[in-house]
Symmetry: C2
Subunit: 394 residues, 2 copies
């Protein structure tokens, strides 16, 4: 019997309590507000079918061959041209979903014990991507406007222990749905530059605004100090695994080498399909339909919350876009303890504790308003309120 010696990092990659808990949300027939799954109604299947047919007919051999690690040139050019600051296509690296961008960033910037900073709460997948490189993750306080700049400075560290970066989602954040205000963005970029603190800006949801686009990205304000991560998962479909990063010339070559070592390149066929779908301004016509759908679903969820939570000390925010809203349960309640009861009542969510590196607020939970239908949202919210009332009464 061979005994396998695991790397130390593998010990840190334990199945989280949360992940185990979430398995119960996979019960068939349940109304789930748990997953961060875009509405499949928005996937442009006919356009993908036409693009696939054309790519294979006109460029099949190249689409199916090994390709460069940087990515398909027309797609890199499209990404560069679509961003609201001056981006050279040579700064764009196509990634296998923006999740891979997080993996590459960690590989290139994080040593064992390196201090890195995250908003709190933050995207669970980022914590998972950073963990294998064994950083010391420091949570920076955040409020409705975004990252607390003074807390950031207080936790920055000095000399060799200075934070390698701050990871931040300024637009319709996962998990809270919050967006960073213009004033806070300006202050953050200024303070970060003064502190010599690189920013990792993750922007999967920025196009999903309801009434007005969010303020300019952090990276647009200081491109040399930021790595920007973007994705086609939320505006086209996640199943093709297509994301990208934009990095300054001082870091790009290392990210490229890490990319090559990780999977050689992102599927060229997928890159060509997406380049084909978007080349004639398709996203300008398509994304507004996603915005309208998600806005109506968000409004339905807010209305259902108003109705069903009446009289309960439950709080929630009103997102300006994205996929999620953030709920706080009554004093003394735990979202983790509530979840099995909610599942029994037919509804699922993600306990907020999943999204904290430390110091979780046990009363919080995340609701996705994009996957379930408006009708399901109504039924699900009633079930959730019932589970809360039963817990309070019990």
């Amino acid at each position: 019997m061979t005994t396998w010696t695991l790397a130390r990092r593998a010990q840190k990659m334990n199945p989280s309590v949360i992940r185990e808990i979430l398995k119960i949300t996979e019960k068939p027939g349940i109304i789930s507000f748990a997953g961060g799954l875009p509405s499949p109604k928005t996937f442009p299947i006919a356009e993908f079918a036409a693009a696939s047919e054309r790519v294979l007919r006109e460029d099949g051999q190249a689409a199916l061959q090994y390709a460069s690690s940087e990515g398909f040139a027309p797609l890199r050019e499209h990404v560069a041209a679509s961003l609201p600051w001056n981006v050279d296509p040579n700064q764009v690296l196509i990634t296998t979903g923006s999740q891979q961008g997080l993996d590459l960033v960690a590989k290139v910037l994080v040593d064992e014990g390196s201090r890195i900073m995250v908003e709190t709460p933050t995207y669970l997948g980022a914590l998972q991507a950073f963990t294998p490189m064994e950083p010391t993750v420091v949570s920076v306080a955040s409020d409705e406007q975004g990252v607390d700049i003074d807390d950031l400075q207080a936790k920055m560290g000095e000399g060799a222990d200075a934070a390698r970066f701050l990871y931040v989602l300024p637009n319709f954040q996962n998990p809270t749905g919050r967006s960073m205000s213009e004033a806070r963005r300006a202050a953050l970029v200024e303070r970060a530059a003064a502190l010599n603190l690189p920013l990792i800006e993750d922007n999967p949801y920025g196009d999903l605004w309801f009434d007005a686009p969010p303020p300019a990205p952090l990276t647009a304000r200081n491109p040399e100090g930021c790595i920007y991560l973007g994705s086609f998962s939320k505006v086209l479909a996640p199943g093709l695994r297509l994301g990208y990063l934009v990095a300054p010339a001082s870091v790009y070559p290392k990210l490229l080498q890490a990319k090559q070592a990780a999977d050689l390149h992102t599927p060229g066929y997928n890159q060509r399909m997406v380049a084909e779908v978007i080349k004639d301004g398709f996203l300008d016509r398509h994304v507004p339909t996603i915005r309208a759908l998600y806005k109506s679903q968000c409004e339905a969820m807010l209305a259902a919350l108003e109705k069903e939570m009446a009289g309960l000390d439950v709080q929630w925010n009103r997102p300006d876009g994205g996929m999620f809203l953030w709920v706080r349960l009554p004093e003394g309640m735990s979202a983790i303890e509530l979840l099995p009861k909610a599942v029994e009542a037919g509804v699922a969510f993600v306990p907020g504790a999943a999204f904290y590196a430390d110091g979780a607020d046990p009363r919080t939970l995340r609701l996705s308003f994009v996957t379930a239908s408006v009708e399901q949202i109504g039924i699900g919210m009633a079930a959730l309120a019932k589970a809360i009332r039963a817990t309070l009464g019990g």
Copy 2:
């Protein structure tokens, strides 16, 4: 100006001299035996087009949605059923190319300074995938039969410094084209088990045999002691980036978590396309056509070598399959120094030095016989011989 502090591992990820040299092989019009590119003539474009159409029509929403990190169940089942030992589909993890399998293995099994062993020479991409985890790479001597078992034992290390694994390509190895004999396989598996040494068996080329299939995989002989890496890149097409690994239950959960953190999952659309193409025994009809093509190209290259290298002290092997053969230049010559002259004469190869962790034999070089046509092979070999003669005469 923000100063980016890079991880130590990033310093080790330097652009290799070899990679810089290989840029000259990208000169337009050159006959290249350098790349490990499958012949695009073998890509089943019509079958992919039909599969894509069907997948999007029948299962479009699921194909384009987020999916499980383990992979698409029918594809995992196909992989398990196709392997010549008893494999539970739950042991199969679909990866974004088998290159990703190497990345995951390194993350889960390698600490900074961990001893790992490789054949010498070995696959350059594996060295690149392992490097970010900062192992101490130990080269194990190899001969025409495979890994030298006594050298393996001598370099195994003890206690905390015992090697975490041996990485080995038993079939039509990259770069040498060599295959491990039945006797050597049996001896290696026995000795590895006695030494408590896990084996990482990489088998991208095993199906590409010319006259007879290679002996049974190492993993078939001791599944609990091996991780097996496979790929659809050489039997279908590399541009979809589809590979897999098979791992024992004691390691699988950690590899799965590393996979989830790396890119969430491999594109579900691509997995469904391949599952659709292969479901009715397509590979049984298709792979023999690749074998026949590659055998004829290999024979053409061997004949051209016989003809063009006559009178030169140049040695080469006769592979039983795969994509590569291995050449040794006359005493005193360096393949790295020869390359610019060969490129000037219109032909490219990869200097063997690219494939050694240390102690490179400067006289060696790798030729791929699968990308160029038979006619190009003739012209290219004449050009290579001319460059060698010019060097010897100069």
